[in-house]
Amino acid sequence: MNEFISLMKPELIVTFIIFVLLFTKLGKGVKNSSLLNLIQVLLLLNFAAGFFFNKEGSLFGGMYHTDTLIAVQKNILSLGVYLISLLFADWFKKTEHLSEFFILLLSALLGMFFLISSGNFLMFFLSLELATIPVAAMANFDLHKKISSEGAMKFILSSAFSSGILLFGISLIYGATGTISFTELPALITASPFQILAFVFLFTAFAFKMSIVPFHLWTADVYEGSPMATTSFLSVISKGAVAFIFITVLYKVFQPMQEVWYNMIMLLSIITMITGNLFALRQQNIKRFLAFSSIAQVGFILVGISGNSPEGLTSVVYFVLIYVFSNLAAFGVAATISSNTGKENISDYKGFYQTNPFLTWIMALALFSLAGIPPTAGFFGKLFLLKSGAANANYLFITIAALNLIVSLYYYLRVIRSMFMDKNEEPIGKIKVQLSTKFGMYLCAAGIVFAGIFSWVYDYIQSLM
């Protein structure tokens, strides 16, 4: 019993918060702003609790597995969720069903926690579904907008399709080996054609969730239709969680077919980076822009994963941490502008610096980090990803990745340029930034600056291997 509590601590806390939020619905109803304060405090506590009493161990006959690294991964996700609760305060205060939104969000987070901890494909499948279905409901949260419902519909249909193929893959694995446990599988994997087929089916599920090209088609529609809080959750937290478990599955379970999946990752990484960049170049809507640029970022995560070494794992965890700060900051600024003025086009941002220097600086910092310009943390994140990828001595691959990095500079800087330099007769007026949003932005900015400069962040993650 004691072990159960200590190992499942993150999940239990999230479940507890979900129940607290359910209880708030019992009474007459709480005002949004005080409810939001409560949520923020709870999520902060959840994040803080992630630092303590992390142990290694398994439960339920190996179905559930955790260790200190997994605890850190979960805590990165918790941090992201906390930041979301801060950054989108404007929208949260306006929405009609705040507690439901967070109940759904936390259910998805709970799913992700189980997902990262899963030690068995059955557990994996169940938690993946738990992490997906609530998000579809979250995508539908702009209740008055048709486009929001359309996005949610597409999301649920596409993911049902992907789940189908995933299940097919899992059953093939079971058929080929007779087991679905992560610990027993490696000995039985031989890279026979049958197993490769099964693996491809599994692979597509990951590819779908991380929106790796060509399984990314749902991304743009869903991102554009959803409220920005959902979009950011999908593009940062959800991708991070799937990347973590993806590494576990590749490095641990499918290590014997390393050569096969290395080629797959390389191929898809190149396609993903190029496609993401090509599309991001053309986008005018800031949400679509961030969506496609996040596809390109996923391509980079794949570069790190391809390293197939402890360093690969370290660099991905580190990158996701930085990505949480950078991308959420960018989304936060975009959302603040959008919920105050309704403007979501990059051309509307012209001359934004004149009226809102604070928001502009945060956005610039975030985009610099996403573009990987030193000395922001994003630079170090990309550096370590590339370094890990370079371990295979496949320099053509790394060169292509580096070239894509340069292309991405162009479109990130384009946004910064239009904010700082382009003239505009009627720039967006002065926006009053909520206190909590401001705080969240400062947190992100601090993360972007310090996670790079202080080498112990990286060293700490490395020490957990």
């Binding site: 519909m153 399709f161 193929i165 054609p193 491809v200 597509t204 399984f215 096969v260 170049l281 053309r282």
Partner: protein, 647 residues
């Protein structure tokens, strides 16, 4: 033991000032930023002095040798086993001396600027930049790692850039800061390559280890560095020469000196701090830091240092005799004096009495900081009063600026090497070391010393005597010397300039850490002092009263005078090289290549991208059943691809 906390505080306090004033100064501390910066620096200076006291008198000396102490250090970036960039502090006699010099002069400048920069629109920005500079400079001298010194080296360059361009509305200031930055950056390129060579062969970036490995003839690293050669010089010599190039750029040695005179566009207190007392001696400091390697393993490089220093000293002194802008005279005088320090290092040997040049160089660095800062601050008072830099607008100021007058005189006597002022002692030591070692350098030094006395007193007489006081139009009705805050630093520095020479430097700062008593040779001193007095006498004849003697003399020198007045056309030479040669032969073709080939490629990429994305836009149709279809097709393609073809 040295206390780490306060050692760290020495550089961190100015940094705190930079951050605080830089972020909030303009909003919250509009008027108090000067006081805040000054108080922080005062604390830092007191700590530095306390550190010096502790180091020199209590903990530094073990068995008669001053130790190199590393009180704290942490690994910032680990490249490989043994090679890492560390951030730490290296405490030894020269770094402790520099700590005192920097914090003291910086404090004087902070105080002085309270008056000088009063009413300035960007007052707090100014103080935050000063804080940044002081922090970087302190970090530079405390560096325990050659890469750390490089980082701070660049930071110093940046703060110098910011401060030279402080009056950014003035096009000349903008041009000057750009010039300073580009020239020193160019030199730093050499420095960086030098670092890479040295660290490659020694397998470390840490100063102590590097020096130890590259000076012991048995070590494998030393053998390797000596064995490989390029263009007739060993890799080690190349490394040291390139490192010296970086130092020469920062210290404005010939031919990289061209940025320093222009740097006088910055506010005058900044010139006193950065371009006279501290930053420009960073090159000297760098050579001193690596001195064992220079002296024991790369004597050719050290000879180069000696000649570059000596020639620069003479050359700058000649130019200084002809300039009419008082700050430029001082700038060239600075270049000349740094040349002195450089050649003093160049003629020094390692250890014991042979290291006299080293001690002398550091001694001169110390005294020079005092009297040159004093000269600049004095010039600042004059400029503050007259609102002009030109000598012809001045004259007879001794009545209006009595304190400035006396302190300026002290400084002039000090720099001219007249006993018992500070410059006398350090200069005599330098000249004595040179005469023991290299006669050519010695004679150049001697001539320079006479010239120095001449141009300094030319300046002094032109400012304070020359015209009758009544002929001068008072620039403004206000009191002459800008109040207590501008007078106090002058007096304190004058005390330093007058008495710093009595410090027995040989006891503290020597090439190998062992104290020795420099023998004084009063017979030897006769000649330099006599030359100095002759220089002063000539200046007195020519400039004491307004007359046409100077014009006649300059006319008799003819072309030489004109060439010196135009600084021997170095600027024009550089312009010719950069504009005509680099521009036409490299810039233009590169521009053509860029426009036609690179742009063409980029445009082609853009157009193709455009076309491709219009084509594939069809895929992104928004129809979910199509998405499913593509999903399935992609899955099957992948399965087929990886099962049948790509194993």
């Amino acid at each position: 033991m040295l206390n780490n906390t306060y050692l760290m505080l020495i550089p961190l306090l100015p940094l705190a000032g930079f951050v605080l004033l830089g972020l909030f100064g303009r909003k919250y501390f509009k008027n108090s930023s000067g006081i805040i910066g000054t108080i922080l620096l005062l604390a830092s200076a007191l700590l530095a002095i306390y550190t010096a006291y502790q180091y020199f008198f209590q903990v530094g000396k073990v068995n008669g040798f001053y130790q190199k102490i590393i009180p704290f250090q942490y690994t910032w970036l680990q490249f490989s086993e043994g090679v890492s960039i560390n951030m730490g502090a290296l405490i030894d006699p020269i770094s402790v001396m520099m700590l005192v010099v920097i914090t003291f002069v910086s404090l004087m400048v902070h105080i002085y600027s309270l008056g000088y920069m009063k009413g300035e629109e960007r007052f707090s920005t100014y103080y935050s930049f000063l804080g940044l500079f002081t922090f970087s400079m302190l970090g530079l001298v405390m560096s325990s790692n050659i890469f750390q010194i490089y980082i701070f080296w660049e930071l110093v360059g940046i703060s110098s850039f910011l401060l030279i361009g402080f009056y950014y509305e003035k096009p000349s200031a903008v041009a000057a800061c750009k010039k300073a930055f580009i020239v020193t950056r160019f030199a730093d390129l050499g420095f960086l390559i030098g670092i890479l060579i040295l660290s490659f062969y020694s397998g470390t970036l840490d100063f102590n280890t590097l020096i130890e490995r590259l000076t012991s003839p048995d070590s494998s690293q030393f053998q390797a560095a000596i064995a490989s050669s390029f263009l007739g010089m060993s890799a080690l010599t190349w490394g040291m020469v390139l490192v010296f190039m970086g130092g020469a750029g920062k210290s404005a040695m010939l031919p990289l000196h061209i940025w320093l005179p222009d740097a006088m566009e910055g506010p005058t207190p900044v010139s006193a701090l950065i371009h006279a007392a501290t930053m420009v001696v960073a090159g000297v400091y760098l050579v001193a830091r690596l001195f064992p390697v220079f002296a024991l393993s790369a004597p050719e490089a050290l000879t180069l240092v000696a000649y570059v220093g000596a020639i620069t000293a003479l050359f700058a002194a000649v130019i200084a005799c002809t300039q009419t802008d008082i700050k430029r005279v001082l700038a060239f005088s600075t270049i000349s004096q740094i040349g002195y320090m450089m050649f003093a290092l160049g003629v020094a040997g390692y250890g014991g009495e042979a290291g006299l040049g080293f001690t002398a160089s550091m001694f001169h660095l110390f005294t020079h900081a005092m009297f040159k800062a004093l000269l600049f601050l004095g010039a600042g008072s004059v400029i503050h009063f007259i609102h002009s830099n030109e000598m012809k607008d001045m004259g007879g100021l001794r009545k209006y600026l009595p304190v400035t007058h006396i302190t300026f005189l002290v400084a002039c006597l000090a720099i001219s090497g007249i006993p018992p002022f500070a410059g006398f002692f350090s200069k005599e030591e330098i000249l004595f070391a040179a005469s023991q070692h290299n006669q050519a350098v010695y004679w150049i030094g001697l001539i320079t010393s006479g010239l120095t006395a001449f141009y300094m007193f030319r300046l002094y007489f032109s400012i304070f005597w020359n015209k009758a006081p009544s002929t001068l139009e008072r620039a403004r009705g206000e009191a002459g010397e800008g109040g207590f805050v501008m007078i106090l630093p002058l007096i304190l520095l004058a005390i330093g300039a007058a008495f710093a020479g009595f410090i027995p430097f040989g006891n503290f700062v020597t090439s190998d850490g062992k104290s020795f008593e420099p023998v004084s040779h009063w017979q030897f001193s006769v000649l330099p002092v006599a030359l100095g007095l002759i220089g002063i006498f000539i200046a007195w004849r020519m400039y004491k009263k307004e007359n046409n003697l100077p014009d006649k003399i300059s006319a008799s020198f003819g072309g030489f005078y004109k060439a010196a007045y135009n600084k021997f056309y170095f600027d024009e030479l550089y312009l010719f090289i950069t504009k005509k040669i680099v521009f036409n032969l490299i810039g233009r073709p590169a521009a053509w290549f860029d426009r036609n080939v690179v742009n063409g490629l980029v445009n082609a990429t853009g157009n193709t991208t455009e076309k491709v994305s219009t084509k594939i836009k069809g895929i992104q149709s928004g129809k979910v059943q199509q998405y499913g279809l593509y999903f399935l097709v992609a899955t099957i393609t992948m399965a087929v691809l990886f099962i049948y073809w790509w194993k």
